[in-house]
Each structure stands twice: as C-alpha cells, then as structure tokens.
Subunit: 414 residues, 4 copies
Amino acid sequence: MVVSELAEAGERRIEWAARSMPVLQAIAARFGQDRPLDGLRIAASLHVTAETAVLMGALRAGGAEIALAASNPLSTQDDVAAALGGYGIAVHARAGVDRATYYRHIHEALDISPNIVLDDGCDLVNILHTERLELLEGVAGGCEETTTGIIRLRQMAAEGALRFPVVAVNDTRTKRMFDNRYGTGQSTLDGIMRATNILLAGRTVVVAGFGYCGRGVAERARGLGARVIVTEIDPVKALDASLQGYDVRPMELAALAGDVFVTVTGNRDVIRGEHLAVMKDGAILANAGHFDVEIDVRALEEMARDVRFGIRPNTDEYVLADGRRLLLLAEGRLVNLTAAEGHPAAVMDMSFSAQALAVARLAAEAARLSPGVYDVPADIDVEVARLKLAAAGIAIDSLTDEQEDYLHSWRLGS
Amino acid sequence: MVVSELAEAGERRIEWAARSMPVLQAIAARFGQDRPLDGLRIAASLHVTAETAVLMGALRAGGAEIALAASNPLSTQDDVAAALGGYGIAVHARAGVDRATYYRHIHEALDISPNIVLDDGCDLVNILHTERLELLEGVAGGCEETTTGIIRLRQMAAEGALRFPVVAVNDTRTKRMFDNRYGTGQSTLDGIMRATNILLAGRTVVVAGFGYCGRGVAERARGLGARVIVTEIDPVKALDASLQGYDVRPMELAALAGDVFVTVTGNRDVIRGEHLAVMKDGAILANAGHFDVEIDVRALEEMARDVRFGIRPNTDEYVLADGRRLLLLAEGRLVNLTAAEGHPAAVMDMSFSAQALAVARLAAEAARLSPGVYDVPADIDVEVARLKLAAAGIAIDSLTDEQEDYLHSWRLGS
Amino acid sequence: MVVSELAEAGERRIEWAARSMPVLQAIAARFGQDRPLDGLRIAASLHVTAETAVLMGALRAGGAEIALAASNPLSTQDDVAAALGGYGIAVHARAGVDRATYYRHIHEALDISPNIVLDDGCDLVNILHTERLELLEGVAGGCEETTTGIIRLRQMAAEGALRFPVVAVNDTRTKRMFDNRYGTGQSTLDGIMRATNILLAGRTVVVAGFGYCGRGVAERARGLGARVIVTEIDPVKALDASLQGYDVRPMELAALAGDVFVTVTGNRDVIRGEHLAVMKDGAILANAGHFDVEIDVRALEEMARDVRFGIRPNTDEYVLADGRRLLLLAEGRLVNLTAAEGHPAAVMDMSFSAQALAVARLAAEAARLSPGVYDVPADIDVEVARLKLAAAGIAIDSLTDEQEDYLHSWRLGS
Amino acid sequence: MVVSELAEAGERRIEWAARSMPVLQAIAARFGQDRPLDGLRIAASLHVTAETAVLMGALRAGGAEIALAASNPLSTQDDVAAALGGYGIAVHARAGVDRATYYRHIHEALDISPNIVLDDGCDLVNILHTERLELLEGVAGGCEETTTGIIRLRQMAAEGALRFPVVAVNDTRTKRMFDNRYGTGQSTLDGIMRATNILLAGRTVVVAGFGYCGRGVAERARGLGARVIVTEIDPVKALDASLQGYDVRPMELAALAGDVFVTVTGNRDVIRGEHLAVMKDGAILANAGHFDVEIDVRALEEMARDVRFGIRPNTDEYVLADGRRLLLLAEGRLVNLTAAEGHPAAVMDMSFSAQALAVARLAAEAARLSPGVYDVPADIDVEVARLKLAAAGIAIDSLTDEQEDYLHSWRLGS
C-alpha cells in the first residue's frame, strides 16, 4: 500500500473509533476553545491505535505539541501512525519492530524535551530516570495508564527515585470499571475466539488473577457458557471469587482441569513448567496481563519436542515429549491486543477522557505538586461518568434538598 | 496463492477442525471398518467449510462417492475446497460466485446421480423436484440441516410434492442444543464483535425471534453485559423470554431502544422500513437467520441518501435523509458465517455426527420408508451425546435395577 | 382457632392467591357466562391450597359439582379447606393425616361418582382402576398435573389398563416453563432458605436431575451465587447441562463435593447409603421431586447413631457413627411445598388455567376420544400464554400477510 | 412459653448459627487462651440475634464484661436474649418495644460505663455524645457496623464532635463483600419471598441505590429471573450498573415500570408521594436500608383511603383513592431482618470476626489513637478471609520468591 492509501485507511479507522468516543470528543471541543495546553510539549508512549489517535487529537486541539512512541512493539497500527502525521503529530512507531528499535523510538519521542509525559507500562518514565536524566528538569508531570506501570511507579516513589508527579490514570473508578473489567473482559475472549474459533460453552476456563481485569475475563467467560476456575494469591479476592460462584483452586490443581488458561495477574511465571507438565492435550494458553512474562514461554519451549507456528492465526502449537499439544496464543503477549483489536473505542473513551482532563489539570497545577503517584481527582472521574451517561441518553436522579441535609446531619436517629 | 499452497492451507484448516470433532472422528473410524456406504453416490449442498470436509471424510471412509456444492454463495472456504479434491471428493464451489453460478454448481453436484442427498436450506432438493426430475428415481433419501429447510420440506410433504424420505437432522435435541443455541449464539456475537469491535456491555441488543437460535443469541448478548430486548410472534415463546428476565416488546417499540439488532426468525422482513425510520443514529443491523431476507435491505437502500461500503470489515454504513447512520453487517446475510467463521467445529461435530449416522441408517433402511420428513431416530441422538460426553471426559450416572423397575411400574403409590 | 376464623383466614389466603392469577380469573368470568360444565361432577385429588381453591372456584362458576381430596398428606392448608366449604365444594382433606386417612379421603371424593377426574400424582386414577372399578363407567375423562403421574399413566396406557382419556396437563409448554422450571426453581430454593437460612453464595449445590424442574433449581441456585453440580442419567440432558456451564458428575463424585443436595428426578434412591457415607459434615439434603423416595431416608436412619428432630423448622439432624451430621429437610418430602409455600400463585395460574380449559374441552369432546394420554391441545396452551402476556401488559408482534405467505411457501430460494 | 423454654430455644438457635461461623469460633478459642479483653467493659447496641450472641460469646471468652441493647426495635430475637443471660451477658432488649423503651435500653447498656462500645447505626454513640457525656472519659474506642452509622460518624468527626477513635467495621473489604453484597442481597429477596410468595421470574424489580448492598440486591433479583431497573444519584455507580446490563433510570420513570421496589440507599424519601402516585396496582414496596426513612410511609398513609394490615405476614395493603393497591412490606423497615431472618450466619461470621479482632486491637492500641474514624487494619481483613477460606477447604496460591521480587522491582522492562 502506498503511504497515502495507508494514511487514508488510518483516517477511516480513527473516524470509526471517534464515533464511540463521544466523551473525548466533547472534551476536544472544549479544549479547542480554552486551549489549556498552549505551549506545552508532550512525549507519549502509548499503544498507537485509532483510539490513541483520538486522544492525540484532543490534546493537539488543546494546544500541545506532541511526540508519540509505541508502548508495545506489537500493538502499532501502521495506518493510524501514517494518518497521525497528517494531524501534525510526530509518530515514532512501527508494527513489529525489534526491541532495540522499540526503545530507540521512545528515545526519539523524548527528544521533544517534554513538559508532560504519558506512559503505558512505565518504560518511557523508566528511560527518563535512567538514561535521559538531562530531560527531567523540564518535566512538570505525567500520566500512567496501566496497573503494571503504577506498581513500578509506586516502587520508584517509595525508593525516592521518582522525580515528578504522576497521575495514576489507571486507578480511577471509571477506568477500572470500563477498561480493566469490561474492556479487557470482552476483548480477551474476543481474542481467544478469533485465534482459535473454539466453542466456549462447556469448556473449563482458568483465570489466573481476580483483580478488575481478571473479574472481567471471568465474567465474560462465564457469560459465554464456560465453567470458570479462578486462581489467586490474595485471600480476600479469592474469597470474593468463591462467593461469586467461581471454583477457586491453586494453579497446580487448576492446571489439571483447564481447557483454556488466561493469565491476568501483573506478575511473572504464573503458569510454569510444573503446570505445563500436567495440562490436558489441546490446552490453550493466553495472557491478558500487560507484559509477556505471565506464562513461562521459555519453559514451554524447553519442554517441546516440536513447535508448529501459526497453526491458526496467532496460535502456535507446542508438541511435548509425551505427545500432548499445548497451544500458545499471541506468543504469550496481550491476547486481546494481538489476536483481537484491543479495547473497544467505547472503553478507551473513558480512560482517555480522564487522561485528557488530567493533562489539563497537570498543566495548571503540577507546579504545586511534589513528586509522587497521585490519584485522578475524584471530580474528573465523576465528570467523565456524567458525560458518558449523557452520551448514552441515560438520566439519573439527583438529591433533593432534604436528602442533602439528611446525608450531612448525624443528629437524626432511628 | 498457487493451488498446492491453497490446498495445504485447507488441509491445515481441516486438521484444526478435526481436533474439535472427536465424535465424528470416532464414527469415521467405525465407518472405515464397516463400510456402510459402499457403492453409494451422495450429492451434497452444504457450507463448504473445514467442518464439512471432516464429514465428507467420514462418509468417504464409509465407502461413498461424493459430489459437493455450496449451500450459500458466501460461505465457501476456497482452501478447503482445494484440499477436498485431494481426498477424492468432487467439489463444485467457489467463494463469492454469483447466483447463476451457485445454482449451476448444485446442478453439477447432482450430475453424480445421487442415491443420497444432503441439503442445507433445501435448494438442492428443490432443484431436484423442479428441474432435475429425471434423477428422483435414483434417490433413496436425504438429510436436511436447517430449520428453514425443514419448513420448506414439511410444506412440500403436506402438498404431496416430496418424493423421498428426508431426515430432519436439524431437529435432534443435540443439534438444537449445540448448533442452534450454543453455536449460533456464540458465533453471532463473535461476528458482530469482529465486524464492529464495539463494547457490548451496557448496549441494548434487540433479538428478533426466541427459538433455539434466538435464545442462544440472547444468552450470549446478556453474557457479554448487554441489556436484551426480545421480539416474538409466538405467545408461548414470548412468555418464556419474559420469564427469563428479558424485556419483551413489539419491534416497533424495540426499534426505538436498540443499539444492535439481530434477526433470527426464519421469516422475512422482520426489520422493515417503518422500524428503520425510528432507529437511533449508529444502530447496527445483523442477521443470523438462514436467508438474507430478515432485514429489508431494499427498504434500507431506498431510504439512504448515501452508502459507505466497507467502513469496517463486513460493515456498510447507510446514511439516511435525516443524517442518521445505520450500519448493516454482512449485507444482511448470516453474520456468524460471513463476519466470523460460522459455528465452531465442536458444534458441527454434533450435527455432522448425527448426519453421518443418519446417512448410514438411510443406506440401510430407506427402502422401507415412504416419502416424508422424518426425525432423527432417538437412539442416534443419544449415541452422539454419549460419544461427546466420553470425549470430554465426563462420566454420568446410570440407573440401578431398582430404579429401572421403579420407572416402569405405575403401581407404586405415594 | 374456631372454624369461622379458620375459614376467614382461608378466604384471605385465597383472595391473595387470586390476585396473582389473572388468567384463571378471566377464564372463571367466561365460564360464569357460558356454563360449560353444567351438570358435571368432578372428583379431584390435588394439593389443597389457595391456588387450587381459585381453580375450584372457576370450575364451580362453570357449573360443576366438585369433591376435593388432597394429593399429598402434607400440603393441605386447613384454612383454605375450611373456606372452600363456604364455596359449595366438598372437601375431604386435613393437614398431616396418616396414610390410611389420606387414601380414605380419596375414596370419599370418588363417592361423588365423577364424570371428570383431576389428579396430581395419579393416586386417584390408580384407586379408580384398582379399587373403584364400578365408577369407571361414568368417567368421561381426566387431567393429570405432574410428570410422575404422567409416567404412571403412560405405563397404564401401554399395558392397556387405562380406561378413559386423560389430558397430560403437565406436558404443556407453559406448564413446563412456568411451573416446573420457574415455579419449582424458585420455591425449592425458597424452601431451603426458610428451613436453614444458609448463605448460598459460594456453596456447592448438587442438583440431581436436569429435566425442567432440575433446570429451574440449577438456575436459581446459580442465580443465588452457588456453584452447581448436575447429575443425570440421560446423555443428552447431561450434555446440555455441561454446555450451560454446569459441572456434570456422577453422584458418587458429587457426593464428595456438595454442601446442599436437591433431588428432582422422578426416580427413587437417587441419594443412597453409598453417597451418604462420603458426604461432608453439615451437608444438607432436600427433595423437590414429587414423591419422598428420591433420598433413601431409611438408609440415613440406619446409618445414624442419633437424630435431632426439628433443629430448625423442617430440618432434622442425623448424626452418623463417625460424628458427621447430615441435615434432612422436610423429611425428604417436597421441600418447596413443606418448608416454603409451594409454587407461587402466578405459576399455578398457568397450569390451572390450562386445566380449566382442558376440563371444558373434555366436557365437550371426551365422548369422541378413546382411552389414552393426550397432550393439551396446542391452542389452549397458546391461549393461556396470550392471556398471561395481556395481564402483564406485554405486547408482541404478529405476522404480516407477506410473512404468513413466506412461512407457507417452500418455493422461495436463497 | 416459660422463660427456661425460651432460653432453650435461643440456645438451639445460637448453636445453629455457630455452625456457620467457623472463623469467629476459631477466634473465640484463641481469645479463651490469650484473654485480650480481661478487665474491659463493653456496651453494645446491635441486632440481638443468634449471630450476635456468638460474637458476644467470643468477647466474653476474651475476658470482657458486656451489656447489650438492641440496635433496632424490631430485630430482637427474644429467645436469644433469654439464652444470653445464661452466658453471663446483661441484655437490655425485647422484640417490638416502642421508641422510648428502645432508647431506654441503650441507656441501660451504657450504665455499664463502657471502655469499648459496639454500635450498629450510631444511636448508642450519638446518645453517648449528647446525653451521657459523663461516660465519654472512660471510653477508649468503638466499632461501628453499618454504612449509615459511618456516614454519621464521619460527619461528627468532621465537625470535631467525635471524642474517641471508632473502627469502621463496615468498611472492610470482606464486610462489604460478604455482608453488604451477598448477605443483604440474599436476605432481602428472601424477605420479599416470605412476605409475598410472589414469583420473581419475569417481574420488574427496581433497586434504588447501587452501593454494595444495592448491587447484591440487584444481582439476586436478576438471579431469580427478574428484570432489574437501578436508580442512582452517583454518575459513576450509575454507569457501572448500566455496564452490568441493568436498566438505569430516574425514579420517576422507574416508578411507572416496577412490580417490586427495594430501597437501599442510606438516604431518606427515596420513594416519595410523586412516585407512589404513578405506580402500578399491586406494586410492592420494600426497604433494605438501615433506617425506615427511605420509603415515605407518611405520604403513603396520607394518600391511602384504606389500609388492610397483615394481608400477608409483614405485608400491609394501602388502597389509594383511585383504587390502586400498594403493598408495604415490614412497615418500611429492614425487610431482610423483619420478614426473613437477616443475614445468614455465614455472613455475620465475617464482619463479627473482624469486629472481634478489631476490639482486641482497640484494647491494645486505643490509647495511641486520636478521635476519628479508622479503617479496619488491612491485616485483620486478610486474616479473616484466610480463616474463612481454610474453613471452606479452599486452597490458594502463594507467591514464589521470584514473583515477590518481580512485584518489588520496577527496573524490569517490557
């Protein structure tokens, strides 16, 4: 495809995404009038997708100059990247690049000397603090999109290593709800269906991790007719899973029963050699956690006497010594992003809207904030939900004066 | 792709399907020994897919000579067609052919002078009875796969037009369960997600028709977080939908509320101009019924001032005079087959296994049957379920002698 | 309570039930005008409850003379029985009578020399055919309410023993749906909650039998947060349960895992000594099948070293030799009728409406019918559903002329 | 019943509850050895139920002297109160007392001059701060059980009025999960079924409030086959309800559609005259919020031309001027406690275990805490969940050393 065709395809894709992002579009319109980001430079490391393009458009409308790199070597949509050039946004990303190029792209984005950074997984912030220290001075603040990134940032903050305030966009109620639970839930199952086309009804799906993402995956798997086993390390989450009717077991027992395994813990080696050793012939392995460390792919490779790559799209078959065949989806990378199309735009509308509003807030107030990880201000979260309900045509109640009084008075008795 | 590459791709696809079809493979092995179809000629009009190929393999193993045409111009997998040639099966099908070629292909399949016919939608049987009457003499019997086909056959039988016995493979309990309910349910939603990538959580999905297929679609839509409205014409089915917690309304009211519409009634013009006229901007229209008559596409075309084809894969946008945009998936044809991959192989394992056993039964007993529509013998259905449970490693109870006695004795009181 | 107070309490109860029975009330009004039962004598053996009273009222309004006995020694509501006297209906029933009195009551009801009989479990019909043969001459036909009764009747018919036509009210689509599935489903769980007040979320409930009733119980148990294990003897039903995401196992394995067991099979000794021997301490045993034979209570008694009756309402504790305690609800009789209030009136509205219409049809047409078991005519079923939807304010679609034509024409192709 | 019989009945009830409270029993055993409460006096205002009795037993085992009053005039189980006397606990509570006596009972409990107070709704703490100021000096700290109480306490703290530290037992993850969500969910529907015996399948249930309790009620209503409408004032919660597939509307529209209404907001006048004015004939009104202020019963009384009390147990019928009949359950008080038996013991096991451990913690550390509302320490919450899983025989995973390291290292990249 020649470049202009590629860009056109990207534009169509962005237009499609924008339709499902009414909240972000409303914010973009407001930014276009108020120009809250005039004169600011933003370096971003995000999945280069159509939805991200809509966010970039909103920030651009607000007056920012932007350089964008990928946050994952596999998620870049080249047509979107091509289209973004036409929007006046510098893109440093290409699908399928190797690790060195991936990091080089982040460096190139940082060359803009950012005032604000947007990150998704903490790679860009990490590089800033370890290899591009000279730029730290100019950075007023940042946003981080994922749970995994937040864990790393909190650790940095605890060690005193973090040098500017970061808003944990991941941690808003609307983000967790929309993105982690409903977005990851649907798109993970979507990815598994596209990769394998198996019937889920009657299958046993093992979900490792019962955080917001894991809950979403478990709900959707159940909603498609599967029996669901949950594994956890946190007693409270394990108990919650059990009370929701899920079968809770340790992985060593779940490994014996599962037809499909989905890891979504934020941790490494959740499925290890000892588990692979006892799985059923034909078991399917998928990861929906941010990094490709949750399934021990190296152990799988070592145990396999033969590998048939691409037996289905995004499906590789590992034949073990005893003849059992295990199917690894998307090489153990994010199955929802690789085998499906990632979060639907409607999902990203929520977290990216919060992100856009958080950037504007940072622009106004970062000077007053000390380094550390900050929650998204609650009013931003409520505002996003309010706009989303309005876009869906859903009206809700408001408090009467008497009710307001009641909530604020502790003197009323039983 | 050169032919041999195409055939190789088809073989991979068939091998993949075969893995999820343990019942049919067990039957194929048995057929290979018993050769119950030795000397028979079979003409089939079926979706030319990998799963059908596994069925063809089983019948071939049983000794039959086979000619295969498509049952729908859109569903043919060309790689599978290419691979089937290597199995000694004559294939008359190609993806995307026009209507004339489609019918010519059926004629070519009939040229084999069949003893047994396999049909999916009743086109082949219809042509036999209207244009190829000379072949009727040689036909001992047939099988029909779909509800739609059965309706046509029963009408033919009622009018005395049907000339040989046909087994309604559609009507087994396992077929309705697996294929109509779980298969159509999952694959329809899968098709909608692949075509649009929308988030289903929180959307209103209108399901027209609450037969087995409609029930499956409604369950899966709900399982993905949608609110579901059901429309029906049968009071008993409508009541059942209501008792399952669905919102039951006539289409004229449902049309106002829906974000996504799925027709699955077996009837025509379920969504008409009067409904299109009041839908929301951005409403999505999909059909999961056998024929492309359920959505009145002609009315949609007449109402549109502009059409943007292929705005997403399998998605066309109709812009109405008042600016509202309606999205038609898969041109109103079977969305699960066109936008996704049709029923998962595990589903087809059930109905194709019943079909294979029914063909063997017809081969043995058709001479004793008068023309008419026959149910699949109950023992075949139970046998298929028994084999499927065994393949899934699920054991069940059996009656004790005392329990057998109890069930057969009416003299025991309260 | 003096008799008049009792009757008053019964009237209140009947009035309450009547509110949830709009269909039967509409039929009663119609009967009051048309008098389709003028001059007929009806003997009925039914659960003597408020809902039955509303049915009796409708039949009385239609002109019938009625004698009513109980169909189960435990289900009689004495206040309702008292109130029915005031309606001019002869009642032969009292709560808690012994077996001899129970059968004597049925004989007394038969003394009316019935033209029509209504049965629920086939005891009355059985006595007619074995002990009251002199009355058979006068009986034009009957209705039977339960699956258990139908099994006995079909056996009688197969042996040539049945002497008049019986309408299997049990087997309408609306009855199975409302009564067996939703009615038994809810009321069984209701009974378990009232008897034990346990939290169901997170518990493992074993449902023995996956017919309509078992399906209802399984759905409601799952809906209350339980994990559900299904046991079955029919491969097709077992497979369906598995595809709906239930864990399917033989009872010997389910016995190890269950916290609560519900039998609903229509067969005897579904839970036997071998199962009791391996259950967990504190396991709860309940029966929702018609007769109290599904749990082998005798085996339980023999295994127990101690019994504490009434540890909770309708809950007896059996302490086994090894110290494990098993809790038997309602003495193994119908838990929904004994520990809760049986089917909600809204449920009985459906089956009793079908029954009322079936009695009128029998009155008009029994002379033309030979002995045997008959389905409820489909039009009665549809009429009941239609009236029920109307009462709930639910409108549905009707076919256009083009759609009618389409359904009746097999010449239209793809 | 004479007193000793009453006490015996109470003991049976307490024994039954204790079976479902393995965590609290394990803690009681530990307390019996460690005696962490030796020499302390506790005044408690709690629902006087069997489960509370088990808590009292654990605190008593720990060495405390206890005076117990009711926290609601309607929830006292007199047999339990009688039995508690035998355990050496002073009980000031009786079922059905008037408001004056209720408050007098709290005063009597306070006469013990408590060091620790346990409250459920903040009435006791309120009286302490307004009428029994002389006792404040001796109070080291307290626990509060409900959301409603916490709202009042936070307001007191904000105004500087709160004089000692209070642990918000309500706010642990396990409490919200078990108690608010699963406990209130099940017991509210249980109460509605016991009071009305209506079939929930196919009914429209309106749930006002989508906090943890509301979510539980909505889930259980849906699980019983109802269509659920949610009303909310918080955009984020409203959005979440919508994404879970609930129909979200303002109450003025929900009022038109509902068959059953459940308020569970913690606020007053959620259902007002303007809503009552448009409800359907036969609509059922129930409250599951702490106080009886959520339904405006006064408005209902004023609109009624007639009231029939006790038409069913805990069900009063209000006949409006236009003939419509509205059914108020439990006089607008907690329907789960009044019409059913409140939370199952398994639920209370969690919150009361947290409460017992929090009391021990307060005994050890209150001196170091300034006045204010405190969360339950996270380790207590995890400990309770851990014990509960162990009691249910559920094993879970634990982190490997490599996983611990991974979670604590931010330097690992993508």
